[in-house]
Assembly symmetry: C2
Homo-oligomer: 170 residues x 2
């Protein structure tokens, strides 16, 4: 078995916005996908150790901002490799409070989606939150960042809390 | 709400192999994703009306072949717009019988994954099948086909049974 085959799966790159009461957070995720068309529903897979997991479980809402290909690595590092337990990750970031009252990150976003959680699926280290789409909009027609581009071109790395994290051997 | 934001989500393109007893089938899907790294698990979303749904529900296994960017539209049309109820879609196709005894399509594939279903999530029109990875391999280092490339460059269309199908208005 060659686990590198898992690297061939295709994803986009997203900032997931969440809240718990008035506390706001954002984190990077690559596993956002549409679940059904009728009614429009989306899902996101979040590591149970992440603050976003606690926030989404409590508030039952999340947002997803689709990142553009030109998103700086520093921006991804800010949301992907820091914890909202230590800093307010939204400070200095251009965002709006959405229909769900969760933050919708606007910086580097080509589109955003907002969802109200209708189903939670426990898959071990992660929970898949499935949500009814409550708002969505296109911000620009820039090319979207793919997870592959992020890895191949930007030489990005993946935190150990991601579903797609694969231990490097040797 | 602008549903076109849903078009900005990023996916790959896959042939999902399935079986029921000795009957084999294959269909196109774009919603294949890794669920957890420890243990390696993947998921696929399949429309309840599809023959693959019946097959995977019965056999509890599926395979996913990751398509290369050069995959001909006719190949995608063969697996995406025909039903295994009418024809044997694997006839004339280069495939192998995998560890799961389900077909693994090799034509136009850069990698493949095989999974044993551990969880089924009913999400209305679709079921998300979550499976433990039982085999995986890389076949080539060609560029993978993305759903976006398929739509933008190849002007592909989407069958109404796909999770990402959006009714054109007007």
């Amino acid at each position: 078995m060659n686990h590198k085959a898992l690297h061939k799966l295709g994803y986009g790159m997203y900032v997931i916005g969440s809240r718990k009461g008035d506390r706001l957070n954002g984190q990077i995720a690559n596993t956002v996908f549409q679940i059904t068309a009728e009614p429009p529903a989306i899902a996101v897979s979040i590591n149970k150790n992440n603050l976003s997991h606690e926030f989404i479980k409590e508030s039952k809402v999340f947002t997803a901002s689709v990142l553009c290909q030109d998103t700086p690595l520093s921006f991804i590092g800010h949301f992907g490799f820091k914890s909202g337990r230590d800093i307010n990750k939204l400070e200095g970031i251009n965002y709006k409070i959405g229909e769900t009252r969760a933050p919708v990150v606007i910086d580097n976003a080509v589109a955003y989606l907002e969802a109200e959680v209708t189903q939670e699926v426990d898959v071990g280290t992660h929970t898949i939150f499935i949500g009814k789409l409550v708002d969505a909009n296109v911000i620009s027609e820039e090319v979207c960042l793919t997870y592959d581009y992020y890895h191949q071109v930007k030489r990005g790395t993946t935190p150990q809390t991601a579903p797609i994290y694969i231990k490097e051997k040797g």
